[in-house]
């Protein structure tokens, strides 16, 4: 395999697109210096190769992963692709090229140079998705349960099954502000779509009452003799607080809302 240190692959940003990059590299027997989403038109010293996404080629790569490494390996790289790991494309690329040679062993090699960075990133992704299963806060806005999140990783695909099943008969919407994606759920089915921008509607009196009661519950449940902010922060990093209703001061009650302005975050 020739190391093409001056070659960049461009793909459409989809998982199948990345699979086609693998196909391309095997076919040409080369390793690009980087794999990036769509040519952003910037002048570059690198030679560029735009890889078209082709479903049947992607499928052949996926089958090869299952055959030559393992079924788990395919699930694993799908997850790795959802992480916020920098240069994840090339890391996945290297992991797979190594895996094609070594087989299932490469999946167990969690301290190895190819596996380790992906393993750590996937753990962080799983962890964030688990946290958000708890930290997502819905507002009942005209009968639709609406939530906004700002995750580091692209967690919506991991949240879909959980929320759609749990709230089977409800209409739900979770907006991922970081990645501009939205999860829509109804009748136990979910779909994920691109959505550039989203501002939730104003809450009605009943919704505000629920938020207020939840906040009162949250404040009352803490034992003051055991006050322990470090412990709280360790379990619930502050970056999640902005979207959790128990930390909203002003939007809780109608009277308070009239004072206007954005909500504040309590310490």
């Amino acid at each position: 395999m020739s190391d093409r240190s001056n070659m960049i692959y461009f793909y459409d940003g989809s998982f199948d697109g990345l699979m086609c990059c693998i196909f391309e590299s095997v076919y040409r027997n080369e390793r690009p210096a980087a794999i990036r989403e769509q040519n952003d038109g910037q002048e570059s010293l690198f030679e560029a190769r735009t890889v078209e996404t082709d479903e049947s080629r992607a499928q052949r790569v996926k089958d090869a992963i299952k055959d030559k490494i393992s079924k788990n390996a395919l699930n694993f790289v799908k997850k790795a692709f959802l992480t916020c790991l920098e240069d994840k494309e090339l890391l996945i690329f290297d992991f797979l090229r190594d895996g094609f040679k070594r087989g299932w062993l490469s999946m167990n090699d969690i301290t190895g140079r190819y596996m380790q960075p992906l393993y750590t990133a996937v753990r962080a992704l799983d962890n964030e998705a688990e946290l958000l299963k708890g930290f997502v806060r819905f507002s009942d806005l005209g009968g639709v349960l609406v939530s906004v999140i700002e995750p580091k990783n692209y967690v919506l695909p991991l949240l879909m099954g959980h929320f759609c099943a749990r709230f089977h008969d409800e209409s739900i919407m979770i907006y991922d502000k970081t990645h501009h994606m939205v999860l829509l759920g109804q009748n136990g089915q979910g779909k994920i779509a691109y959505l550039d921008e989203f501002t939730p509607a104003e809450a009605d009196a009943r919704e505000l009452e629920m938020r207020r009661m939840w906040k009162h519950f949250y404040d009352a449940i803490a034992i003051k003799e055991r006050y322990n902010p470090r412990c709280r922060m360790g379990h619930m990093p502050k970056r999640y607080w902005a979207n959790m209703t128990e930390f909203w001061e002003e939007r809780c009650a109608p009277a308070e809302v009239e004072q206007g302005g954005r909500f504040a975050i309590a310490d």
């Binding site: 301290t111 819905f138 749990r166 803490a222 470090r230 412990c231 709280r232």
Partner: protein, 430 residues
């Protein structure tokens, strides 16, 4: 009184209850109903005291006709009283659940008149949730000692988990501080639940359509530090309860003085949080690490070491067991090494199939080398330049903050419990 006002009073009255987990039952979502439950449980928030908020934890009522000395809700105490109607609490649970505030309901109650009447109201609330709302989320219900067996059974078919609080670690203490409760009144519902759970599991194997009875099992809790029992006595009691009643969890609650009483520690007593923490660590060792209570404490050593956790204490007392060779030791032996937990032990087993492991791999596998270094070898070698001077070892086994405080003798020993250990409190995770 508005629901909001009741909620505040009845949350405040329930907050000292420890258990707030939602684990142990799997139930998917379903058309025509709301909710699901997963075996690992889920934290929806963390309160200002660092405790996980999973369930809507409230009392049905705090208007108690009993007189337990340590309790805010006791009859003679002058506090505002409130009582939810069963429907009011069911509606509130659903509204909170829909907004993903909670994983379900944890309902307990002061004794309204008598045990049976109280339980009937809890049953009605759970019935509304399960039958009218077709709620599939998690429900933990407290059994009130002295409740009629048939009522308890009914409650058990509606709840996922039940608990009977053992309250205090010995019969004497119970007599002294909770005169309306007796050891038998507490242990008999525990025994009944155990038997019925066992029968139900057998029936479930035979007939799949059998409704399940307390599928997440039963738990209990006791107050630590209001009475003179030692760590040794408490840990043995916990181990006994796990064995005898198949309990899923035993919770400990550091005594916080809320009322004055002749037989109680003074109102100025600080809650023994470090003790509670050590007990949770030891409990963790019993449940997941294959330790027995008698390995951790004995007649001569009745209290835990305040400076290092029970696992480190055991390791220091058993030099013959170490060093453990990372590339060969079995899972159980790996688990005994300070700094190696359940997850890192599992990762070691996986990773060493690929090739033999060395010290630089340990950190990547999540091993805390600061502690583990003294107890392991990799490929037959100990870590290069390792000092085995006792003070050095001790210092490394302590949490960062404990060690720091020892260097500043003017600091109060009581404040040992903070920092690194503090952030991990309440789980007992080591």
């Amino acid at each position: 009184m508005t629901t909001d006002e009741k909620l505040q009073i009845l949350t405040d009255a329930a907050k000292y209850d420890v258990a707030c987990t939602s684990s142990g039952v799997t139930r998917g979502g379903k058309k025509g109903s709301i909710g699901s439950a997963s075996p690992a449980g889920c934290c929806h928030s963390f309160a200002a005291d660092g405790r996980c908020v999973t369930l809507l934890k409230v009392l049905m009522s705090n208007a108690c006709s009993y007189e337990c000395a340590y309790c805010v809700n006791r009859r003679s105490n002058d506090v505002p009283r409130a009582t939810f109607s069963p429907r009011e609490l069911a509606d509130l649970t659903i509204e909170f659940y829909r907004r993903n505030y909670i994983e379900g309901l944890f309902v307990s109650s002061a004794v309204i008149g008598n045990a049976d009447y109280t339980t009937e109201r809890m049953i009605e609330c759970l019935r509304i949730l399960r039958e009218e709302y077709r709620f599939r989320g998690y429900i933990h219900a407290k059994a009130i000692p002295g409740t009629d067996e048939a009522l308890l059974t009914r409650l058990g078919y509606l709840a996922d988990r039940m608990s009977v609080n053992i309250e205090l670690p010995s019969e004497n203490s119970l007599k002294l501080l909770a005169p309306d409760k007796t050891k038998t009144a507490i242990l008999s519902p525990m025994g009944q639940l155990k038997e019925q759970i066992k029968e139900n599991r057998e029936d479930l194997v035979l007939y799949r359509s059998t409704p399940s009875f307390v599928p997440a099992g039963q738990s209990t809790q006791m107050i630590i530090g209001a009475t003179p029992e030692t760590d040794f006595q408490i840990l043995n009691l916990a181990e006994g309860l796990y064995k005898k009643y198949d309990l899923k969890r035993v919770f400990f609650s550091a005594y916080i003085p809320v009322v004055e009483g002749r037989n109680l520690p003074s109102l100025l007593t600080k809650p023994p949080l470090l003790r509670e923490h050590r007990l949770y660590q030891a409990d963790w060792l019993l449940r997941f690490y294959g330790f027995r209570a008698s390995e951790l404490l004995d007649e001569e050593h009745q209290s835990f070491n305040p400076y290092v956790d029970p696992k480190c204490t055991w390791a220091l007392n058993h030099p013959d067991f170490f060093p453990v060779e990372i590339n060969r030791a079995d899972y159980e032996a790996l688990l005994r090494v300070p700094g190696i937990g359940v997850k890192s032990a599992q990762r070691i087993i996986v990773a060493r199939r690929v090739g033999s492991l060395d010290f630089e791999d340990m950190k990547k596998l999540g091993v805390v080398m600061k502690r583990a270094q003294f107890f392991i070898t990799c490929r037959g070698r100990t870590l290069e330049g390792l000092s085995l001077r006792r003070e050095y070892v001790m210092r490394s086994l302590m949490s960062v903050d404990t060690a720091k405080q020892l260097e500043m003798p003017e600091m109060e020993q009581l404040s040992l419990f903070n920092g690194e250990e503090y952030t991990k409190c309440l789980t007992g995770q080591i």
